[in-house]
């Protein structure tokens, strides 16, 4: 039996579905896209089959600025999945995008002790597997 410490648990990755494929394809091309309602013009995230503001079935994918601010965060101490063993405490953030929606993400290159509510951030792209690039955030220049 293999020594479990030698196993490298995989990072849990998103299942890419017809609904979410445009988001992940854009991320791979280092672009952040959101759904925007063709009728009421509201942005939404995460992807849905219709506009969750007005119920219109027509939503378009549009590229957005990537500019955001830090809305809140936690630091997860006991790891809940094998990948995070040895990587905890693990900070997770919620960012408010300039266009309105919020996303869960990670902040890179800023120690958690320096996090501040409202701090300006900008999208960054972190390739984690052949088909998945995660959208993360760094300090805005």
């Amino acid at each position: 039996m293999a020594d479990p410490t030698e196993m490298t648990p995989q990072r849990p990755l998103p299942e890419i579905t017809p609904l979410t494929e445009p988001f992940w394809t854009a991320a791979k091309a280092m672009k952040l896209v959101l759904q925007k309602c063709a009728k009421c013009a509201e942005y939404q995230f995460p992807p849905e089959l219709a506009c969750t503001h007005c119920g219109s079935p027509v939503v378009d994918w549009v590229e957005v600025s990537g500019r955001a601010s830090l809305y809140s965060w936690t630091v997860a101490h006991p790891p809940m999945l094998p990948y995070f063993h040895g990587r905890s405490p693990w900070p997770v953030v919620a960012v408010q995008l300039e266009e309105g929606p919020r996303m869960i993400s990670n902040v890179v290159e800023i120690p958690v002790g320096e996090y501040e509510f409202g701090m300006p951030l900008v999208a960054e792209f972190e390739e984690v597997s052949e088909d998945v690039t995660l959208v993360v955030f760094r300090r805005a220049p």
Binding site: P12, L13, H77, P101
Partner: protein, 384 residues
């Protein structure tokens, strides 16, 4: 209108322990038989069954429960989602069913081996479906982490403190110390909570509900029939469910325009309207409390204080039994008695109305029971 048409006439539980050693169907049957005995009824009287469901797992079908109880015919049944948001919902459905004449005697129950049955998120696969695909890869995996982000924002917006969250756990443990069913009975202090290990900053271990195995059940029948049964009826004066707009589960609270626009706010509005009462009429509140911070959100949602004021409300001892103006979770709640998706809170509401609670609120005539604030929710007002 179902106001005052039905009553809870029987309650039953198993023991609450970490490793009960029996499947959830078996403990469900035990709790339901105990509730029927308490009411002076038998399985032959039962013609409806309602239960709490979780999206991810559901071991006890109404079919199996009815068959193993020996119920001659079910005329109504169903599961109410979602987990702790459904803490009151099976009773809401039971009351609707009985009040409309679809059935005469309804069972509502929850059975859960959360102490020994493993944590749902531990089964996360290599590829994450649904909206979790946008959270779990970033390390936001379980409920405590999902609510910790919301709690930190709440602290930022309203000035709430970790000491105030801790105060909830302390007040409830003081009650649990007098409750022989409670899993944790050793009194704790605010310092103990703050010194317990950090789980998801800002929430410490003692801010979190415990994890137990066990089951509980109640019996609902018409107000008319209730008057002839063994126990003093706990009349169902108000019953509601509420979801609000653009809602997700806990993982998606931050996708809402206002994450503090909780489902429980909608359940509160409707349960008060049906019961025709105001917050000042409530003698005791049983609030779903998977994490200490949620009790603050419930106090605000149900109008016991303004948004942002619940921290001070708690700190001033106003939820303490016996001296606070609104004793909360007099059984110890999910933080100290047991974690049964909050269904144990319904039973405590009934005990308060009967006058048989271990921490009895003197002359309690109105008990409010509320499910989880943050997921599609439900509420009950019980009266003597």
């Amino acid at each position: 209108m179902i106001r005052d048409k039905t009553a809870i006439v029987g309650i039953g539980t198993t023991e609450y322990v970490r490793n009960i050693g029996r499947p959830e169907l078996q403990t469900a049957l035990e709790a339901i038989r105990a509730a029927l005995d308490d009411a002076g009824l038998t399985a032959k009287d039962v013609d409806a069954i309602f239960k709490i469901e979780t999206p991810s797992e559901e071991p006890n079908s109404e079919l199996e429960v009815a068959r193993n109880l020996g119920v001659p015919n079910l005329r109504a049944w169903g599961g109410a989602g979602y987990g702790g948001g459904a803490a009151c919902a099976p009773v809401v459905h039971a009351a609707m069913t009985v009040a409309t004449g679809m059935a005469d005697v309804a069972v509502a129950f929850r059975s859960r081996n959360r102490g020994s049955g493993g944590r749902p998120w531990a089964r996360t696969g290599a590829r994450v479906p649904g909206s979790g695909a946008f959270e779990i890869p970033y390390g936001l995996v379980g409920p405590v982490q999902q609510l910790a982000i919301v709690a930190r924002r709440y602290m930022h917006e309203y000035g709430a403190t970790s000491e105030q969250f801790a105060r909830v756990a302390v007040a409830q443990r003081a009650c649990a110390a007098k409750n022989p069913r409670a899993y944790f009975r050793e009194p704790i202090t605010v310092e103990d909570v703050l010194a317990s290990r950090m789980i998801a900053d800002p929430l410490h271990l003692l801010d979190c509900s415990l994890e137990t195995d066990g089951a509980c059940a109640v019996i609902v029948t018409s107000a008319e029939r209730a008057r002839d049964l063994k126990q003093p009826p706990a009349y169902i004066l108000g019953a509601s469910q509420g979801m609000g707009p653009r809602h997700y589960m806990m993982n998606g609270l931050l996708y809402k325009d206002d994450p503090f626009d909780f489902p429980t706010i909608y359940a509160a509005r409707d349960v008060y309207a049906m019961a025709e009462i105001e917050p000042k009429d409530v003698d005791v509140a049983l609030f779903y409390d998977v994490f200490s911070a949620m009790v603050l959100w419930q106090l605000e949602a149900f109008g016991f204080c303004e948004p942002g004021e619940a921290g001070a409300f708690v700190e001033e001892g106003r939820i303490d039994w016996p001296d606070g103006e609104l004793p909360v979770n007099t059984h110890g709640g999910s933080l100290s008695e047991a974690y049964v998706h909050g269904f144990n809170h319904v039973l405590e509401g009934v005990r308060q109305i009967r006058g048989t609670a271990d921490c009895q609120v003197k002359d309690a005539s109105i008990a409010l029971v509320a499910a989880a604030a943050v997921v599609p929710s439900s509420a009950l007002v019980l009266r003597r």
